[in-house]
């Protein structure tokens, strides 16, 4: 027993972790921690690039910036990328705030795009342009709402798992698009020729300007809705505690269904902008994983639509910058993915230092002497 006591003694932990009092964390501390995290991420990925790709990291970062801001075309591409990603992120955010894990934005956007393309294809010639635009909008938004409504109803009335349900709905949407292309593309190539003649109008001579402006308006609208409306308040209460919601008489089922309808409607807008405003055609990969990346955008911004502008820019910057370095330095594109991963890891990891602090044991020092 005595021997044991002595041997145990050496096990005094050097470090232990203590939770921070959130009241004492100042905004500039948060800023410093995040800035250090990004710098550290750049440093670590720089070392990795030097070792693995034998390239000068400063040039590599330069090429990343160049890939995003290098020309007015690139800047427009970046703005379009941010706008589309942000739009899908805005769609999932109300549901996430309610702790309804909608991971089916991919399918909700795709099915809206399909509805939009079908309208363009079959009704394009039958009505005046203005009316066609209205019909496209209504049909796309409705399609997104239906795709979101199904899991919401099942969740509200039979408490099914919304994560699985929305995920599965993605595959249904993909298969529907595949079937559509097979059935209605006459030449059998499976590739639908774009129909720009039925697309959304181009304003200011810039192809993406309309998308960017619409999403900017939408961002503010969603922010105001969540922060200042009675609906937004109900969403917060349901998300924080369903018991509290019941306690004050909120109809939880109604809020779940209503919020998912809004979520689906915004997905519908995203589908409309992607198909009607950008591609003028559809394929099974039109949404391109934005429905999943949006989850990250929303979480990183802690469900605040205004911060989401920054987080979607960050992700688009990393994506476009990585593509640029793979072409400029003929590095395998997986290096680019690794860099993206490292930067995200550091950004998410630094949250730990905002929540906790690490303390060096005083006991140990005493014991050593």
């Amino acid at each position: 027993m005595e021997n044991m006591a002595k041997s145990e003694k050496k096990n005094t932990p050097l470090l232990h972790i203590v939770k921070r009092d959130q009241g004492t964390v100042t905004w500039y501390y948060k800023l410093i921690v995040r800035a250090v995290a990004i710098l550290a991420a750049i440093l670590v990925s720089g070392i990795l690039i030097t070792i693995l790709a034998k390239a000068n990291p400063i040039e590599v970062y330069g090429s990343m910036v160049d890939g995003v801001f290098g020309s007015s075309r690139r800047i427009w591409n970046m703005l379009q990328g941010v706008a589309m990603l942000l739009c899908v992120s805005l769609a999932v955010t109300p549901a996430f705030k309610m702790k309804f894990w909608n991971i089916g934005a991919e399918g909700q956007v795709l099915i809206s795009g399909l509805a939009c393309v079908a309208t363009m294809m079959f009704l394009g010639d039958t009505m005046p342009t203005a009316l066609l635009l209205v019909v496209m909008t209504v049909v796309s938004v409705l399609a997104g709402m239906i795709w979101a409504l199904l899991p919401a109803l099942f969740k509200a009335y039979w408490n099914t798992n919304e994560t699985l349900f929305t995920l599965m709905m993605n595959y249904v949407a993909t298969q529907l698009v595949a079937w559509f292309l097979k059935a209605f593309v006459k030449n059998g190539s499976g590739v639908l020729t774009p129909m720009p003649e039925y697309g959304l109008p181009v304003i200011g001579g810039k192809a993406y300007l309309l998308n960017v402006l619409l999403v900017a308006v939408l961002t503010i609208a969603v922010y105001v809705y969540l922060r200042y409306s009675k609906h937004g308040y109900e969403i917060s209460v349901v998300g924080e505690s369903e018991n509290t919601a019941r306690y004050i008489g909120i109809n939880v089922k109604k809020v779940v269904v209503r919020t998912m309808l809004i979520s689906g409607a915004i997905c519908g807008i995203a589908g409309l902008l992607l198909v009607g405003g950008t591609n003028h055609t559809i394929s099974t990969t039109t949404v391109g994983g934005r429905g999943f990346t949006a989850i990250m955008v929303s979480w990183l911004a802690k469900f605040n639509p205004l911060y989401m502008v920054l987080t979607s820019f960050l992700l688009i910057f990393l994506e476009m910058g990585s593509q640029q370095i793979s072409t400029d330095f003929r590095i395998s594109s997986s290096i680019a993915d690794i860099v993206t991963g490292i930067i995200l890891l550091f950004i998410i990891g630094c949250e730990f230092f905002l929540q906790y602090r690490v303390v060096v044991s005083k006991n140990r020092k005493e014991n050593v002497k």
Partner: protein, 516 residues
């Protein structure tokens, strides 16, 4: 008679963020004694013992076992030094039997043989006089039986120092007596028993010495033989406090809420409420006493429109118009729309009454956010209300924009009770409103309830401390396994009488409705 010291703490300090839980605490326990650690809620009793048991690691200070300085970095270390703690919240596997739970996690050499475990368990029960069936599943046990399993678990691992955290909080007076008898037998067996409590009479009847903590500091240790309630209270509070609650006679009591023959079942179809009837009058405080989980929560929730009834009626009588309304099968919103001013302080403050991550202003809005026209929220009135409550009830908070989760328990409760009273209720229901609060905050709440009573509100108070119930309430309804076993006068009732009513129909299987 100088007994050897079993365990000693020297200069223990522990902080959580800004909060100092323990400051420079010294403490020693002898072999073969019962030491009570006394202090108000939040005085650092449990934190200090958690460091001895290896749950937390002290920031500063030393711990000695049998005179040797030791490092206890995990519960496993604590067991190696023969220290075992029985926590307030039991850590048992529901589907396992008593024996299986006891054997769980023991790293003995050789094969695992349940029969050996069983033999040893029976040996321990006989030695100390426990009453337990070693083959009973934990899911079928009452709270008191579960506690017994936890104690045997610790003894099975050979603990010489036993720490019990508020062991009597969930027990009836009769069960408490049995537990104390067991603890005394352990003392005779030369074990050291540390009991954490804030109940003075328990300290006086059981312990050999009392260590008093106040705001994380060790104020002093006295021999129980030399102590009186007055001395201990003074040590606990710092100043002498008059421990009595004013109780006025009900003025002009009128029937306000009549509950008739309420029945309800849980998900498995077992009865939770089993024919509850009573009447609450204006201008009186009706207490509800019972063992935890006897249907108190469901009773209040069914009145508030949150719990589905299978049978029965709830009739509310409007004091102004004299009209009656049946509240059964109405949700909280419909009840409010009827003009019934029913306020409810639920047991689960941050999980039901308030939203922890929202600030005080937004929490004020919970009851009233739908007021005012239009699509948008109106935050001005709730902000004024929040500022008023902070000032009137002396809520300690950096600002009205602080998330309530960051406030201390007493301040959280002030915010909640403040909001519910601000609605000018005619019926006010409060479930365990002082649980976890220190004495000062508790008295603030009692005073608030008393003032509501004087205003003619029908107050329904669910409590766990019988002394408080008997000092505060005009009448006390005793509930047991979903049934009313008696309604007694708060001024004349005896504690033993209430205790008996709480346990009366035990053979009907109280354990079935025990805590999940």
């Amino acid at each position: 008679m100088a007994k050897p010291i079993a365990l000693e703490c020297r200069g223990i300090t522990k902080t959580f963020g800004r909060v100092v839980a323990n400051k420079n605490c010294d403490l020693e326990v002898y072999k073969g004694e019962i030491l009570a650690i006394l202090g108000e809620n939040g005085s650092g009793k449990t934190t200090l013992m958690n460091m001895v048991a290896g749950i937390y690691y002290p920031d500063e200070g030393q711990i000695f076992v049998d005179g040797q300085e030791v490092t206890i970095a995990s519960p496993k270390d604590a067991f190696a030094y023969k220290i075992g703690m029985i926590h307030q919240h039991f850590k048992l596997v529901d589907v396992f039997t008593a024996c299986e739970n006891i054997a769980l996690g023991v790293e003995d050499e050789g094969r695992y043989r349940l029969a050996d475990v069983r033999r040893k368990v029976i040996e321990i029960t006989q030695r100390y006089g426990f009453v337990i069936d070693p083959d009973k599943r934990v899911a079928d046990m009452s709270v008191s039986e579960k506690q017994t399993v936890e104690i045997i678990k610790v003894l099975y691992r050979g603990a010489d120092v036993l720490i019990l955290d508020e062991p009597t909080a969930v027990l009836t007076p009769q069960e408490t007596d049995k537990l104390f008898a067991v603890l005394r037998r352990m003392r005779e067996d030369n074990k050291s028993v540390i009991i954490i409590t804030h109940k003075l009479h328990e300290v006086l009847s059981l312990s050999d010495r009392v260590a008093v903590l106040r705001r994380g500091e060790h104020i002093g240790t006295v021999n129980t033989a030399d102590a009186t309630e007055g001395v201990l209270t003074e040590m606990m509070m710092g100043v002498k406090v008059e421990l009595s609650i004013e109780r006025s006679e009900p003025k002009n009591p009128q029937e306000r809420l009549k509950v008739e023959d309420l029945h309800s079942v849980n998900e498995e179809g077992r009865p939770i409420l089993d024919g509850v009837s009573f009447t609450a009058y204006s201008g009186e405080i009706l207490g509800i006493a019972g063992i935890a989980g006897s249907g108190q929560r469901e009773l209040l929730e069914s009145i508030a429109g949150l719990h589905q009834l299978t049978q029965g009626n709830i009739t509310y009588q409007d004091p102004k118009t004299g009209k009656t309304e049946n509240l059964r099968d109405k949700n909280p919103l419909q009840i409010r729309d009827l003009g019934v001013r029913l306020s409810f302080v639920p047991e689960d403050r941050l999980g039901m009454g308030l939203v922890g991550n929202m600030d005080i202003v937004d929490n004020m809005m919970l009851r009233s956010y739908q007021k005012g026209r239009g699509f948008f929220l109106h935050r001005r009135e709730p902000r004024d209300l929040a500022l008023n409550i902070i000032e009137d009830l002396q809520v300690v908070t950096p600002s009205a924009a602080t998330p309530v989760r960051q406030l201390s328990g007493g301040n959280v409760q002030k915010v909640l009770v403040g909001r519910e009273i601000a609605a000018a209720p005619t019926v006010l229901m409060a479930a365990y409103p002082v649980r976890g609060l220190d004495v000062n905050a508790s008295y603030t709440i009692y005073n608030l309830l008393n003032r509501q009573k004087e205003k003619g509100v029908a107050v329904i108070f669910v409590g766990e401390d019988l002394d408080v119930l008997m000092e505060l309430c005009d009448r006390i309804l005793v509930i047991n396994a979903g049934r009313v076993t008696g309604i007694v006068d708060g001024r004349t009732a005896r504690k033993e009488e209430i205790g008996l009513l709480m346990t009366k129909s035990k053979e009907e299987g109280v354990g079935e409705y025990g805590e999940k």
